[in-house]
């Protein structure tokens, strides 16, 4: 008995959606940043977004705890203050020791501390590093060009991020709904996620190809 194409696709679609979900899930679990042994002047650019509705984030400091694979690390950009519902750029520059083994990992812990509304606020970000033979030059929430401080820069859509930084972080400077890192900050896909996404794409294409046409049973 020939299978009913409509029935087949109706069974397959939920399964594919499940594969997509798993793919997205795995993509986050696979988060890591790749660096090369002996590389210098690697830089972690942080778009610091102050969500406080009325209080500036000030007295900012940037400190770190580096893993063994990192040689020196220095705060290269530290904003003096980030206004309420606004953003600014911070950065940490670091070297990777030469001779570290491929596949070596470590956690670079960056702490941004400051004060807002009379409270001390300390945000800690853990950056998992992995030494690879050849690392992408730009990773994470990237757009076009290298981020640079943009004091007084134009913010066309009024979302608190200047146009220049939106471009650098890959969001639309003219769309207030488009914000760096949204809707999810998935800066890299692990191999499991990539495989699952590829499977999803292939299967979705097959489903679209075999889907019954509108009005064919009439």
């Amino acid at each position: 008995m020939q299978a009913d194409p409509e029935e087949s696709t109706s069974m397959i679609r939920p399964a594919l959606l499940a594969v997509l979900f798993l793919g997205l899930l795995c993509s986050e679990a696979a988060f890591s940043y790749q660096v090369e042994a002996g590389s210098s002047s690697n830089e972690v650019f942080i778009l610091l977004v102050n969500d406080q509705p009325s209080a500036p984030f000030h007295s900012i400091s940037l400190t770190h705890a580096a893993p063994g694979i990192v040689g020196t690390a220095t705060a290269s950009i530290v904003p003096v203050q980030v206004e309420a519902e606004s953003s600014d750029l911070a950065a940490l520059q670091f070297d990777v020791l030469p001779g570290v083994a491929l596949g070596a990992t470590g956690q670079l812990i960056i702490t941004l501390a400051g004060e807002a509304a009379g409270k001390a606020i300390e945000t800690q970000v853990t950056v998992p590093l992995e030494v690879v033979e050849s690392a992408p030059a730009a990773q994470g929430v990237v757009g076009t060009g290298v981020p640079a401080p943009d004091p007084g820069g134009v913010d066309s859509d009024g979302d608190g991020v200047t146009d220049a930084l939106e471009v650098a972080f890959g969001s639309n400077p003219n769309d207030p709904e488009s914000f760096p890192g949204q809707p999810f900050a998935v800066p890299a896909l692990g191999w499991v996620g990539a495989v699952l996404l590829a499977l999803f794409a292939l299967a979705w294409g097959w489903v679209l190809a075999h889907a019954p046409q509108q009005g064919s049973r009439a």
């Binding site: 400051g114 807002a116 009379g118 001390a120 970000v125 853990t126 730009a138 650098a168 900050a185």
Partner: protein, 786 residues
């Protein structure tokens, strides 16, 4: 966002990564980090402070049972509802987040609100500022924090520094004092011990009676409100708490401190007022944590029994102050204390104003009974008492020279220390048993007390006392009211029977005035009066013509048997190298309705006078002085009572004697006499030959003074009636009118009996008195009219 759009984004990112993967060497990583709006707020759980607070006072109190805490101020910490795991804790000295607070309670405790709000915590401070011991710091910062972990590897810690501070200390002065008594205490206590202090001013007594001056009516029913606070322009407990909450300059400037309770440190009567507020006031709100008393008469002090009697007993109150005598007399003691600035009653008032407060402190007073009987002390307040044992108040102004020698007749001029109330040791059982004002048995709260070698006026400025107070205010084991109640009521106080009044001199044994309990008799003072007595320079003065002086002896005696007169012998004495008895009174003292054991007052009159050599004499003795004028010191004794020597000395002035001249009224020398004559009255004093009530002949003569032989102008003998209280030997005044000098037919000055044979004559007054020498006056010049 649709799945299609999400997919598009994923592919965009993937493409971007793919393109970037072709690069080598230096890389860059771009992240987006949010400073979240956690909405962390730290507020006063009581709601007394609106908005955020900056600190909290460690004003809790350890309870009676293990683990029990009587809470003080608490804070509520809360954040906005947020996804992720919340952990409450603090930042350590290195700025690192530590979950929770130390289990030993040193930094306080977190607890979950009863309502179970998932995003809130209650913070209660430690029960003392520093559980490890006294700490001189004024504040201790603590960084309370919450850690929100939104995802693995990404967490935010939000913290707020709050100040732990000691509760406000409210200082309550005693009666006859004011806030300035604490000036040095405040300076040292704040600088050295880290407390913020406030001074109550109840010197005005009743709030309704007007602005504060020294000495109010003192009735605790009303005056406790000064301790309570809330009176415009004055500071009490509630005002101190408000100052803390508002970040007032007097507290922790600019820092809003959550606080529920203050500590009280009270001196003398201030301790009773504080206790009344805590234990009796209907509007007490539980805002006191600890009360430390210094020299407070918890069971009263006999000296106030004396003072009240002195101010209310007409016999005692009517006794006049005379020179130095009131300094050592009970009746004048309050006035003297006032003179030296230690008692001030309301401006325009009188010593009576202070009676209500004094009456509160009398041994056995009704108000003390209210405080101490039944259920004294508050279960939710901790108490401690500092007990002074120096029964001599130092009045030394100039080293080695005691200018207040008159304070106590039994002390030497060069004695360094003098008892403010010289009879105090007698009342209190001996040396070191009082602080010179309040007996130690009355100052003591037995569950926690310590003795210090200071007198009643020296507590405040003592660094030792300040340290003790500081330690106790940071001592979590300071006993609460229940423990004090048990110990206080179990205490046996033999002196509690020393109710009533006492008027005693002091007996010196060795270098101390000693005694024990109340004596049977209480000598008060000698006061002088009489028809010929004047005054000069504040001193009673008996003129050259003499006259009977009445010496009123006032005092009190204990009733041996109710209703039965008590026969006693009182001796009026003059103080000299060897004291001289002037008058001996065998008196029957009537106790009236005074019950057995109580003291009743008496007032008896003795007599004294003078002769023409300024000797002092009484019916039973005399002491001569041939050098002229003299100030005599007079006191009295009661026979058969070993508890005292004699009453304080009262001084009286007998100026040098001279017989008055024959003087024509309305004229000055030379007197001009005419043929019609100029009459005048001859005055003088005559030696009494017999006792009072009789008549006595006086022979007063006028002479003209010649070089060889004086001429008798008039020889007149007249009779005077002696006063009923006169006695032989006393000089009695006479005043005889009708003497006459005139110009006779020869143009000479003449008297009733003879002529001078002179147109100008020197005339004098001559007195013939059997039993004594015959005095004469100086001359007056008399001329005849042209």
């Amino acid at each position: 966002m649709s799945v299609a759009l999400r997919l598009t984004l994923v592919f965009t990112i993937a493409a971007s990564l793919l393109a970037a993967s072709l690069s080598h060497g230096a890389t860059r990583i771009q992240l987006v980090v949010h400073i979240p709006d956690t909405g962390l707020s730290v507020t006063d759980l009581s709601g007394e402070i609106v908005g955020e607070v900056d600190g909290i006072a460690t004003d809790a109190l350890v309870g009676a049972t293990p683990g029990e805490v009587l809470p003080g101020a608490s804070l509520q910490l809360s954040v906005l509802p947020t996804p992720g795991a919340l952990t409450w804790g603090q930042l350590d000295a290195g700025g690192d987040f530590q979950a929770g607070l130390p289990a030993n309670g040193h930094d306080g405790h977190f607890s979950t609100p009863l309502a179970g709000a998932p995003f809130a915590q209650i913070y209660t401070p430690p029960v003392e500022f520093d559980l490890t011991g006294p700490n001189g710091a004024a504040e201790r910062p603590l960084r309370l924090a919450v850690r929100i972990e939104s995802s693995p590897g990404e967490a935010v810690v939000v913290s707020k520094e709050i100040l732990l501070v000691k509760p406000p200390v409210v200082l309550v002065h005693g009666i006859n004092s004011g806030p300035s008594a604490w000036t040095n205490f405040q300076a040292a206590f704040e600088a050295t011990h880290g407390f913020r202090t406030y001074t109550v001013d109840h010197s005005g007594g009743s709030y309704a009676s007007g602005p504060p001056t020294y000495g109010g009516n003192g009735d605790p029913h009303e005056v406790y409100s000064f301790v309570r606070g809330g009176i415009p322009g004055l500071v009490g407990v509630s005002d101190a708490l408000v100052a803390f909450r508002n970040g007032d300059a007097s507290a922790h400037p600019g820092k809003r401190i959550a606080v529920a309770k203050a500590d009280l440190v009270a001196s003398s009567y201030g301790g009773l007022l504080s206790r009344w507020y805590i234990e009796q006031a209907a509007d007490y709100t539980g805002n006191v944590r600890k009360l430390i008393t210094m020299g407070t008469p918890h069971r009263g002090t006999p000296i106030t029994n004396m003072d009240v009697e002195a101010l209310t007993n007409p016999t005692i109150a009517a006794a006049d102050a005379q020179l130095l005598s009131p300094i050592v007399s009970v009746g004048g003691s309050l006035q003297i204390i006032d003179d030296f600035g230690f008692i001030r009653w309301k401006d325009g008032g009188s010593p009576q104003d202070v009676v209500p407060a004094l009456r509160v402190m009398t041994v056995g007073s009704d108000l003390l009974a209210v405080l101490n009987e039944g259920a004294p002390f508050h279960d939710e307040v901790a108490y401690g008492s500092i007990v002074g044992t120096d029964d001599y108040i130092d009045f030394l102004l100039i080293p080695l020279l005691n200018v207040f020698n008159g304070l106590e007749p039994t002390r030497g001029l060069l004695t360094a220390q003098k008892s403010y109330f010289p009879w105090m040791p007698i009342l209190d059982g001996g040396p070191s048993a009082s602080d010179a004002v309040v007996p130690t048995w009355s100052q003591t709260l037995p569950a926690r007390s310590t003795s210090v070698p200071f007198d009643h006026l020296s507590f405040h400025d003592s660094s030792t006392v300040q340290s003790i107070v500081s330690i106790w205010l940071q001592d979590s084991e300071l006993p609460r009211g229940a423990a004090h109640r048990t110990a206080f009521q179990a205490q046996v106080i033999p002196q509690a029977a020393s109710r009533g009044n006492a008027y005693v001199g002091s007996a010196l044994i060795g270098t101390q005035s000693v005694g024990g309990g109340l004596v049977s008799d209480a000598i008060n003072r000698v006061a002088f009066s009489g028809p010929t007595l004047g005054s000069s320079g504040g001193l009673p003065r008996l003129g050259p013509s003499g006259g009977v002086v009445t010496a009123t002896l006032t005092g009190m005696s204990r009733v041996v048997s109710a209703g039965a007169p008590q026969t006693r012998t009182l001796r009026l004495v003059e103080d000299d190298v060897f004291d001289t008895t002037l008058d001996v009174l065998s008196a029957s003292l009537d106790p009236g309705a005074t019950p057995t054991g109580e003291l009743f007052s008496y007032s008896l009159e003795a007599r004294l006078g003078r002769d023409q050599s300024a000797s002092i004499l009484g019916p039973d003795g005399a002491l001569s002085n041939f050098l002229g004028g003299e100030i005599w010191s007079v006191g009295y004794e009661i026979d058969g009572e070993p508890d005292y020597d004699q009453s304080p000395w009262a001084d009286i002035d007998f100026p040098s004697f001279s017989l008055p001249t024959a003087f024509v009224p309305g004229e000055s020398e030379p007197f001009i006499v005419t043929a019609a004559g100029s009459p005048f009255t001859l005055e003088g004093g005559v030696h009494a030959n017999a006792g009072g009530g009789a008549s006595q002949s006086v022979n007063a003569l006028l002479y003209e003074d010649n070089f060889f032989s004086d001429t008798l102008l008039e020889d007149r003998t007249f009779t005077i009636s002696t006063p009923s209280d006169a006695f032989p030997g006393i000089l009695l005044p006479y005043s005889e009118p009708g003497y006459l000098l005139y110009k006779n037919g020869s143009g000479h000055v003449a008297g009733a009996d003879n002529s001078s044979f002179e147109t100008n004559a020197d005339v004098y007054h001559y007195l013939i008195q059997p039993g004594a020498s015959n005095p004469s006056s100086s001359n007056v010049s008399v001329d005849v009219a042209p």
